[in-house]
């Protein structure tokens, strides 16, 4: 200590500096010393030395000691204010538990003027309680974290009383603090992240706390939390049978607070990090919901333990929340439950899973999910399936489904306004996600599949929603692109492929900003698909070229290569360039085989079958067909996959007039679709239409006739748009059937009704083509050559140029 200052004035300054330095966390002390003004530079080294000495006093030296009561000493039964315990004077009792008490105390030897929390055991000196304190000392000695109350000192006083001197935290327990401050759900979660930081730090130091509860978390006036009481903590891996700590560990495991104890803790099974996660889950649940997740009646320990190990948990958003509880969170009961619904439900229930393996594996992963929620990203606790998310959305917003287009539209606009307001309120991330979820759910509500075939909102909310989205400036373009993607899917699902294509193009344009990102590539492939759906093959080819260009900077994955070749083949096929198509499909097939992708193999085979039939090579086409039929039996395929791929194969034969060979497969597909989706599923309308047309082509006329009658009866009650579109298609099949049966007058009636429906439903070019052909066929059967020739001199949808949109189910009557 010969470097210590000689000047007494310097001693005074040094003492003040030491006190200030001691008030800082150890890892900040050096930087603070370095920042001292030049006039105090001479004191920097002495200050460091003093701090080193002090650190030894506060932790290492004392911790190295053994907490045992010296033999022959009988400690007094009680302690009082003013009593001395080691170098500490007791100032005020601040806590009292079954096993000991905690006192506010201060050092009396003048070395450091600081108030500490002095933890004393009860004067009933059980050996294991002393061991427990020694254990806490050991564990705390190994932990140094800003959110864990620090251990300053530990030892045994002159009367044999073991003590722990801990950082005194002047504050409130966590739950009281949250209520006193009326913290919102977001505020509570943000604060709770500090608890998770502390627990995670302990976990990384192989320490399980085992008694996490609001009472062991204090919050100071600067809103900093301190985790306390590692009294029943244990070291991970300290539970082997040979470990001397084992017996203590087991005896202490019953010392937990039952309300926060995990099922495995109650059952005295092996504890893991997930056990602390469970307790954290209970704490968070109570903080957010205002009640315990456990459903009990009298709250006895026995009942609690049964509830923990066997009972059902209360889903947060279904809890009974009163106005005062909600008010403490600055909200109303309804709003609070809506905030909890969905993602926070999922997070809390995952943290509280009865089976430890189903919980978050660590405090860190729970923390990460809460951060995702705060930042507006989807949480991991929730299944990633968007469809499932949408179904949940639809389920919880059932009222919007039933009240018609006007109301749905109003809700859409409200959602858009909410986005703008959220941005202004600087809550864009959270709100944008909520709104995105809302919009996606709303838009995909138009998908009849979600409503058992009822088309509930059709085009209007989509159109308004999309327009509003176009107009929102500075909206996160990735989120916007995501919403466009959903809107495009909805347009496609309600049969408006052209609008779907335009919407998809907006998505591509937004994502072009990122350069050749994986997201852009996906969007480009989706766009190519939408162009193909609408028959815009030239545009599809241009965007396929764009993918080709980008692939030089970001090579395509095997899957993308398979898709690329398939799309190129499909475009060539539609252009009747059968040779090129055959080559592309062959490449796609090889690539699919490389990646063992049975779906892609089957699709490529279906395309190559068409190419080969187009080339007049029936033999090689049927070789492919045999391979494909055999692949359909692949066990990796689900029944639905089998139906979809089977339909593609059958349709490949139909397109090239191979009616006889493919009919048995088509019948299988038709039956499977009915088994899977019911008799008149809107999702399988194309399957049903192909089947009916096919039956006519091979002269099995009775089957489609009874199907049409049943279909009309089933659809009678419907009056929505998609029903009207399908009605046109079914009527066209009916007219064809009547012509085949020679019922010309009836066929004429049906055709007239389709012409008349054009006022309500804009006929697609495919349907118009079929209508023109049927009209000519009727005239031919009537041998009215003049009317035929007259019809053909007028502009019609029969242009032989082949430039127009391709027919989806156009009905050809030439055979």
């Amino acid at each position: 200590m010969n470097e210590l200052p000689q000047d007494p004035a310097d001693w005074s300054v040094l003492q003040q500096l030491l006190v200030q330095a001691m008030s800082l966390p150890p890892h900040e002390r050096n930087a603070w010393i370095e920042s001292l003004p030049a006039t105090q530079h001479a004191l920097r080294e002495p200050l460091r030395r003093l701090l080193e000495v002090q650190a030894g006093i506060e932790t290492r030296h004392f911790v190295d000691g053994v907490l045992t009561t010296p033999e022959g000493l009988t400690p007094p039964a009680t302690v009082l204010i003013g009593d001395l315990v080691g170098p500490y004077r007791l100032l005020q009792q601040v806590g009292d538990g079954g096993m000991g008490s905690v006192w506010l105390a201060e050092r009396t030897d003048g070395t450091i003027k600081r108030k500490i929390a002095l933890k004393l055991l009860r004067m009933v000196w059980a050996r294991d309680l002393a061991n427990r304190m020694a254990r806490e000392r050991d564990i705390l000695g190994s932990l140094e974290h800003p959110n864990i109350a620090r251990l300053y000192d530990a030892g045994v006083d002159q009367l044999g009383r073991p003590f722990l001197a801990l950082e005194y935290v002047e504050g409130q327990r966590l739950d009281h603090y949250c209520d006193a401050q009326r913290l919102t759900v977001t505020g509570r979660i943000r604060l709770f992240l500090q608890v998770l930081d502390a627990v995670q730090y302990a976990h990384t130091n192989l320490v399980l706390h085992r008694d996490l509860k609001p009472g062991n978390v204090l919050v100071n006036q600067r809103a900093e939390i301190r985790l306390l009481d590692f009294g029943i903590a244990k070291l991970i891996g300290d539970d082997t049978a040979s470990s001397p700590a084992d017996a203590l560990s087991r005896s202490l495991s019953r010392a937990m607070t039952p309300r926060y104890a995990s099922p495995e803790q109650v059952q005295q099974l092996r504890l893991t990090l997930a056990s602390d996660v469970y307790s954290l889950g209970v704490m968070l649940y109570e903080l957010l919901v205002g009640c315990t997740p456990l459903i009990t009646h009298n709250g006895s320990r026995a009942e609690l333990e049964i509830a923990i190990t066997e009972g059902q948990l209360r889903t947060p958003s279904r809890a009974k929340v009163d106005a005062s509880t909600a008010d403490l969170r600055q909200t109303t009961p309804g709003r609070l439950l809506r905030t909890l619904r969905g993602e926070l439900d999922a997070v809390l229930l995952k943290a509280l899973a009865r089976n430890a393996a189903d919980r978050y594996p660590s405090a860190e992963t729970l923390r990460a999910d809460l951060v995702r929620w705060l930042e507006g990203h989807p949480v991991r606790a929730k299944p990633p399936s968007r469809l499932l998310a949408i179904r949940k959305f639809v389920a919880r917003n059932a009222w919007t489904v039933g009240i018609g287009t006007t109301a749905v539209t109003a809700v859409t606009v409200a959602a858009i306004i909410a986005v703008v307001q959220a941005r202004e309120a600087r809550l864009e991330s959270r709100r944008a996600t909520a709104t995105r979820d809302f919009l996606i759910g709303l838009f995909e509500n138009a998908n009849p599949e979600l409503h058992g075939g009822r088309d509930i909102s059709a085009k209007e909310p989509l159109r308004i929603g999309e327009k509003a989205l176009d107009l929102i400036p500075n909206f996160d373009y990735r989120v916007k692109a995501d919403i466009y993607s959903s809107i495009a899917a909805a347009w496609s699902q309600i049969g408006d492929g052209s609008t779907a294509r335009v919407t998809s193009e907006k998505r591509v344009a937004l994502l072009e900003r990122d350069g050749p990102s994986p997201t852009l590539m996906v969007a480009l492939f989706d766009y190519v698909e939408s162009c193909i759906q609408t028959g815009d093959y030239d545009i599809a080819a241009r965007y396929l070229d764009r993918i080709d260009q980008l692939s030089k900077r970001r090579p395509l994955s095997e899957k993308q290569h398979t898709e690329y070749q398939w799309y190129a083949g499909w475009i060539a096929l539609q252009r009747r360039e059968f040779k090129s198509a055959e080559q592309n499909f062959s490449e796609s097939l090889e690539s699919a085989k490389q990646s063992k992708n049975t779906h892609a193999e089957l699709r490529a085979l279906a395309g190559r079958i068409q190419s080969r039939l187009g080339l007049g090579n029936r033999k090689s086409a049927y070789e492919d067909y045999a391979v494909a039929i055999s692949s359909l039996e692949n066990k990796a395929l689900t029944e639905r996959d089998r139906m979809n791929r089977g339909f593609e194969l059958a349709a490949s034969l139909y397109i090239f007039g191979e009616y006889n060979s493919g009919w048995s497969l088509m019948q299988e597909v038709f039956k499977k679709s009915q088994d899977l989706n019911g008799k008149f599923s809107m999702a399988d309308i194309p399957v049903q239409i192909y089947w009916a047309k096919w039956a006519i082509q091979i002269d099995e006329l009775d089957k489609p006739m009874s199907w049409i009658r049943e279909w009309k009866e089933h659809q009678y009650a419907r009056s929505d748009l998609s029903s009207a579109i399908n009605e046109v298609k079914i009527s066209l099949i009916e007219a064809e059937l009547l012509l085949a049966l020679g019922e010309l007058a009836q066929a004429d009636d049906v055709l007239s009704s389709v012409w008349a429906s054009e006022n309500q439903v804009k006929l697609s070019s495919d349907d118009r083509l079929a209508l023109e052909v049927l009209k000519l066929e009727k005239l031919l059967l009537e041998r009215d050559s003049k009317a035929i020739l007259s019809s053909l001199t007028e502009p019609s949808g029969l242009s032989p140029s082949g430039d127009g949109p391709r027919a989806e189910g156009a009905i050809c009557l030439l055979v």
Binding site: E529, I532, Q533, G535, W570, Q574, R576, F578, R603, A606, Q610, L613, G614, L615, G616, R618, F647, E648, A651, S652, Y654, I655, F656, G657, E658, Y659, N660, S661, W663, P686, Y690, Q697, I698, D699, L769, E772, V773, L776, L780, R783, S785, K786, I788, L789, S791, L792, L798, S799, P800, G802, G804, R806, A807, E808, G809, A810, C812, L814, V815
Partner: protein
């Protein structure tokens, strides 16, 4: 993706048949020849629509301008191939196949010679639609 059915050479087909009804066989044959080519391009050479168009054109040609034996036999042989194709596409019991076989039987038996009195009737009884 569900396959889409292509548009066809309908204008030429219906014009050809309407002209046949009006007895304008040469122009009808020309129209059907274009329809045949379009159909082969659009539907593929094996499609029953292509086959039917070819069948009708050949029948009109055979009845309208009977040439020497060699030409007749060549056309008969082509019609036989087309009938076989129709059978593969539509199945043996399809009405069009049965009718095509019946027509082929008549042609092979030389029944055509005995029906030459009413060309219009013969042609209309022999075309497929």
């Amino acid at each position: 993706m569900t396959a889409r059915e292509p548009r066809g050479p309908y204008v030429y087909w219906y014009r050809g048949l309407a002209l046949t009804l009006d007895g304008l066989y040469e122009i009808a044959e020309t129209e059907l020849r274009v329809a045949e080519s379009e159909a082969a391009n659009v539907f593929g050479p094996l499609h029953p629509r292509t086959s039917t168009t070819s069948f009708n054109r050949l029948v009109i040609s055979l009845v309208n301008v009977p040439r020497d034996d060699g030409d007749f036999k060549r056309k008969l042989s082509t019609l036989r191939r087309i009938t076989k194709r129709l059978k593969a596409s539509l199945g043996e019991r399809h009405p069009h196949v049965e009718r095509a076989e019946q027509i082929m039987g008549n042609l092979e038996r030389g029944a055509l010679e005995s029906m030459l009195g009413d060309k219009q009737k013969i042609i209309l009884s022999m075309i497929l639609y």
